[in-house]
Amino acid sequence: MLEPILTVSNLKTYFFQDEGVVKAVDGASFEVYAGRTLGLVGESGCGKSITARSILRIVDAPGRIVDGSITYCPPNAQPMELTQLPAESRAMREVRGKEIALIFQEPMTSFSAHYTVGNQIVEAIRTHERALNKTQARERAIGLLRQVGVPRPEQRLDMYSFQLSGGLRQRAMIAMALACNPKVLIADEPTTALDVTTQAQILELLKSLQQQFNMALILITHDMGVIAEMADDVAVMYLGRVVERGSVDQIFHAPRHPYTRALLRSIPSVTSEPRTKLPTIEGSIPHPYNRPQGCPFHPRCHECIAGVCEQHEPVLVTMNGGSEAVACFLHHREFIETELTEFTK
């Protein structure tokens, strides 16, 4: 079995605010392998973006990683424990951008409008590879833009981000993320702001780049269609937790967690009957200050077991030799049986 390049286990990132503690990420565990794509899926507020930011240690105050570990195992080198490194340390800055890179959600706001796109890509290159002079870095930047399919890269390099179309801007963002050949690429909703046709182009590009460089890709999205198209492994998040994990085929064809099942049912599809009612998930995502007791999904769950789900928090239990995992009492028979016998006593 391959060794994972990045292992996140029981990650907890909390935001300490005057009104209370927001548990943005509250027990996220998953593994990422070189050359494979992990899809991190969930609705807004489930903590998927904060998980990505935690890995790169760029969580803004008052957020803080309070527990868990993020282990980065570069090939032919010592494993690094990212949670132990100070966020501003030299070692962390070496990792950030060079080993693990992030494509941000909004290409419009993630480029500075005061510098040309080229200027920003060159800066990224020269931060990590000080041996290169300006001309060499510029050559490299042009090459990168060409690689990601930007037409006339020599001219586009001297443009500002607002002069580029959404698709080109996202391509430039990818070029910048690829500047130092990262081993792990995190793409946070890379296509959410784009049209479907442009989305198809960008997804295709990410796929081919991954094959070319054998990168590990973490694809964060709320779009189950994108996940089905791209991912090898999937982790489903709900209210800061990974509630189910498995291969893409298992998640879509044999989902275990009621949330995963409900989520899959509620997606409108181009292949379904027109003008039909969609099955929905009752209620809405709870407010972060107001997390339900017990299993976070129990107030919206159809299969909620009275006396168990609202009182106990299910843990992520691995199945099928570790490749799959689910955090739901429906699949933890033993626990329920002992609990119910106590209940009846």
Partner: protein, 357 residues
């Protein structure tokens, strides 16, 4: 008389044959919206952005027409022209208000209010479209106040009724929008739009900003309200899978023009325009066993201020022939009720969304 007959004959091309003229609620004829590009010291007009360029369609009373296309194709501009948020450059927008057909495009500003009462809009972003300093009672009650319901008690009763209609508790009336989630806010926006018993509701990307679980709830609510209140929807959206769940007919736009107009099932199963085919194939399908051989469109959407010659889609079309470069295709009936603007619509067999087999 002859004049009317003439315009009718032009437009019969885009009206579904099955429906009688009497049930037409909205009839858009030759709609054009050109925005001038000004440059230089004197701000001279150097060109025009043809945001909407000769669009024709009708909406029957009680039906849902979806307007789909990529960003910048003019779908939102079309919707705004219909609401007269913009005054169109040319064309007629005939709307049946209180029995008579009124041309919204040419009504004087002073007489707009009674027309607008019959057409309302649901906005995309539920966070930006509600005033954070107003309570729900004020937000939903404002259109009532503006249209002459000055009695507060009467107004609040109507607001309570509206909130219940969209599935919210009327006790929430004195709260502010920040207390509600995205889905609930969108319900508030819908309640506001329904306050004046409109006939036509324009939904501009009304569910695009919502999470999938909430999106399904709002789509179901819109379907339910339509059957309960007999509403007519113009549903502007870019998400084809959402469109499929709500619309009777679909109009596909590309660079300011309609390229296809057909009943929903036809658009998805047997599209007649290569752009529709490409658009359908680009939608990711939530099934890893059916990773599609998608058609990747090269390049970007054409620039509406400097469109290509002939068919605007020809530089990106994989079926383009010499004729497409030279001649602009007109929207014509290919199959009964199905219209497409493509020279090769008759000979091409295009692939729709793959259905479950």
């Amino acid at each position: 008389m002859t004049n009317i007959e003439k315009t009718n004959s032009v437009n019969s091309a885009v009206r579904p044959a099955m429906d009688g003229v009497h049930s037409v609620l909205l009839d858009v004829r030759g709609l054009k919206m050109h925005f001038p590009i000004r440059q230089g010291l004197l701000q001279r007009v150097v060109g025009y952005v043809r945001a909407v360029d000769d669009v024709n369609f009708t909406i029957q009373s009680g039906e849902t027409l979806a307007l789909v296309g990529e960003s910048g194709c003019g779908k939102t501009t079309t919707a705004r022209c219909i609401l007269r948020a913009y005054k169109p450059t040319a064309g007629e927008i005939l709307f049946r208000a209180d029995g008579d057909m009124v041309d919204v495009a040419s009504v004087p500003r002073a007489q707009l209010r009674p027309v607008r009462r019959n057409m309302q809009m649901i906005f995309q972003d539920p966070y930006a479209s509600l005033n954070p300093r107003m309570t729900l009672a004020d937000i939903v009650g404002e259109p009532l106040l503006v249209n002459g319901m000055t009695n507060r008690q009467q107004r609040n009763d109507r607001v309570a009724e509206l909130l219940r209609l969209v599935g919210m508790r009327s006790e929430y009336m004195q709260r502010y929008p920040h207390a509600f989630s995205g889905g609930q806010r969108q319900r508030i926006g819908i309640a506001r739009a329904l306050a004046l018993h409109p006939k036509l509701v324009v939904c501009d990307e009304a569910v695009s900003a919502l999470d999938v679980s909430v999106q399904a709830q709002i789509l179901n609510l819109l379907l339910e309200l339509q059957s309960k209140l007999g509403l007519t929807y113009l549903f502007v959206a870019h998400d084809l899978s959402v469109v499929k769940h709500i619309s009777d007919r679909v109009a596909v736009m590309y660079v300011g023009k309609l390229v296809e107009l057909a009943p929903t099932a036809r658009v998805f199963s047997a599209p007649k325009h290569p752009y529709t085919e490409a658009l359908l194939s680009a939608v990711p399908i939530a099934d890893p066993r059916r990773r599609s051989q998608r058609i990747i469109l090269e390049g970007d959407v054409a620039d509406p201020s400097n469109p290509p010659s002939g068919c605007y889609f020809h530089p990106r079309c994989r079926y383009a022939i010499e004729r497409c470069r030279m001649e602009t295709p007109a929207l014509r009936e290919i199959e009964p009720g199905q219209y497409a603007a493509c020279h090769r619509a008759d000979e091409l067999t295009l692939i729709g969304a793959v259905t479950h087999s």
